[in-house]
């Protein structure tokens, strides 16, 4: 990092805190602090929805995933547009016209206070843990860049965001989200352009893409119907559909976004903005990872991207590490030559020569992957760190090593922005649910607006500290983006099931919804412990069990209390 990079990052942090805190003015009453007086335009809400969903994990984890696993992850988003349409038809008008502050408040109107409290509790549990993971991702990057300990970095990120969320409420969250989203788009665009311009002179964009395609990195549709396969078109369009319905329709951090819109139409438009833009945007983020992969065909990448773990392994067994590194460099040279030959053969359009060049390249690439795997295993065993993964370190290491002065700062600021936009929305939602679903509902029913806003600020601070503590333990949990989705999948399907019962099943009763939810979560626990089903399918399992059990129990209830 150069001085200019530091100035850019510092300027961003100072601006975002100042911009957030100055929103305190419109947040003195309960409606202003938690719902921005339902006054926000659709484009601001839409950008906030996207910024909330696109955390630093999306930038760091997804690019790393594209580098090592290719574009298969894109299929995860194929169900999102349909989910948005379903939500626009169902929950948006329901919640908006019910005039609620939280999604769970609607469940009390439909069922009872017990169901509201239970669903809100599960939201607090899953999101409280989830926001910790969201803080952990940028902390991982910054700890490498700044040479700070991960704990200090976690508290710097977490507390900075907590401060402006605590004072400015949802207004601060949304308007900073808008600016942060713009910064992220600029950062990504510049990053994409610079990687492209760093390709060797005789390798064009299409040459690079043919290389990536030959090594299987560009798969965007996987049709095998295998429940143990993580990313297929079926898990993306069916299982992820359930996840997105639950996330955008039952998770307060997203529901609160469209509840701040001026009208039902504006709320719907804000969600449909994601429906149109999410897949292309995710494609471009993955493309950055693919470009990093292409770039490293011609320049040797580090054997281990995580410098801290690599140094630990060198200290423990430098002889074996050096031997592995030597082997790795030789294999990379072979692969690089094979890649150049493949590109040349592609240009000459000689089918026989091309087939041979492709075969040689694939063989060299396989050898390269095997050696990298060997190195990763070596680090795991030498450092006695079973959960060690290199995926999250690929992008930040690449940025630091290859980006010019000023651009490093811009991209680091964009990663900060991605992290803070998600963290702020989550903290605001956690505080809203704590204040309105528990404090106002159970402990202080007749308080003033000032009481609730004050409690909301205290709750924001408390959740900020809790999330930082969770983040400390989350830094070694494997691919961080999957960790967040796994956390979500454990509860989301069952929460969705309760809302399906509330909105779609007229015969559903409070007792059915309450016990249906508990059975749903228990079924996901069983599925996760006793089957090999991939986590995305937990959403389907949880939802179906909750709806089925909830409906059956409702049939046994005679009273018609709605």
């Amino acid at each position: 990092m150069y001085l200019l990079d530091w100035i850019i990052v510092a300027a961003y942090l100072v601006y975002v805190i100042w911009d957030g805190i100055k929103r305190t003015k419109g947040s003195e009453n309960i409606e202003g602090f938690f719902l921005a007086n339902r006054s926000l335009p659709w484009w601001a809400v839409g950008l906030s929805v996207m910024a909330t969903q696109m955390s630093a994990i999306t930038l760091v984890g997804t690019t790393g995933q594209a580098y090592s696993d290719g574009m298969r992850f894109l299929q995860f988003y194929y169900g999102l547009p349909l989910a948005m349409v379903i939500l626009c038809v169902t929950v948006v008008p329901f919640f908006y016209r019910a005039n609620v502050f939280t999604a769970y408040e609607y469940l009390e109107k439909r069922f009872d206070a017990k169901t509201r409290s239970l669903t809100s509790f599960f939201f607090l549990l899953s999101r409280g843990l989830g926001v910790g993971v969201i803080i952990a991702a940028p902390a991982v990057i910054l700890s490498i860049i700044l040479g700070w300990s991960e704990i200090i970095t976690i508290f710097v990120i977490g507390l900075t965001t907590t401060v402006y969320t605590m004072f400015g409420g949802v207004q601060a969250v949304t308007w900073t989200d808008v600016k942060q989203m713009v910064l992220i788009i600029i950062g990504l665009g510049v990053c994409l352009f610079i990687i492209l311009s760093n390709f060797p002179a005789d390798v064009s964009l299409s040459d690079g893409l043919f290389l990536a395609g030959a090594s299987g990195k560009l798969t965007t549709i996987e049709t095998s119907f295998d429940l143990t396969e993580k990313y297929t078109i079926w898990s993306g369009t069916i299982a992820a559909l359930f996840l997105f319905l639950a996330y955008f329709g039952c998770d307060q951090s997203q529901v609160q976004r469209f509840l701040t819109a001026k009208s039902v139409s504006q709320g719907r438009t804000s969600l449909l903005m994601s429906a149109f833009l999410k897949i292309p945007m995710q494609f471009f983020i993955l493309l950055i990872g693919i470009f990093v992969f292409i770039f490293y065909q011609f320049q040797a990448p580090p054997m281990i991207f995580n410098e801290v773990e690599a140094n630990k392994a060198i200290k423990a067994n430098s002889v074996q590490y050096s031997q592995l590194e030597e082997k790795y460099k030789q294999i990379h040279t072979t692969r690089s030559e094979a890649a150049v030959e493949f590109v040349r053969a592609k240009k000459q359009s000689d089918e026989i020569q091309l087939a041979k060049a492709k075969e040689d390249y694939l063989k060299a690439n396989q050898n390269f992957n095997d050696t990298r795997k060997e190195a990763t295993e070596f680090v795991k065993t030498t450092n006695k760190n079973k959960s060690f993964t290199d995926v999250n370190y690929v992008f930040p290491t690449f940025v630091l090593a290859q980006m010019p002065m000023g651009i490093i700062g811009l991209i680091i600021a964009a990663i900060f922005a991605a992290a803070m936009s998600s963290i702020s929305s989550e903290l605001n939602a956690l505080a809203t649910a704590t204040t309105l679903d528990f404090y106002r509902r159970h402990f202080k029913k007749n308080g003033t607006d000032a009481d609730y806003v004050k409690f909301g600020r205290i709750a924001t601070f408390a959740w900020g500290i809790f999330a930082c503590i969770v983040a400390i333990y989350a830094t070694n949990l494997g691919s961080l983006i999957e960790v967040v989705n796994k956390f979500g999948s454990f509860f989301y399907g069952s929460l969705l099931g309760v809302f399906v019962l509330a909105i779609v099943v007229k015969r559903a009763r409070a007792r059915g919804a309450f016990f249906g939810l508990l059975f749903g979560i228990a079924s996901v626990w069983i599925a996760s412990n006793y089957t090999n089903i991939e986590f995305l399918w937990f959403n389907v399992v949880g939802c179906l069990v909750t709806v089925s059990v909830g409906y059956l129990i409702s049939l046994t209830v005679k009273e018609d209390k709605q």
Binding site: L74, Y78, A275, I279, P280
Partner: protein, 47 residues
């Protein structure tokens, strides 16, 4: 002035359902086209 502002807020336009159904249809068709284009992109550069 305040009254005018309030009136403006109350006159927020809500589009009819028929209009929304056309929008939803456009979203689904666009998604199918995008996924097909991505599939073609993958096929083109992998062969």
């Amino acid at each position: 002035m305040k009254i005018e502002d309030t009136d403006q807020q109350e006159k927020i336009e809500e589009y009819p359902d028929a209009w929304w159904y056309r929008v939803y249809f456009a979203v689904i068709i666009t998604t199918i086209v995008v996924i097909a284009a991505l599939g073609y992109f993958s096929y083109y550069f992998s062969n």
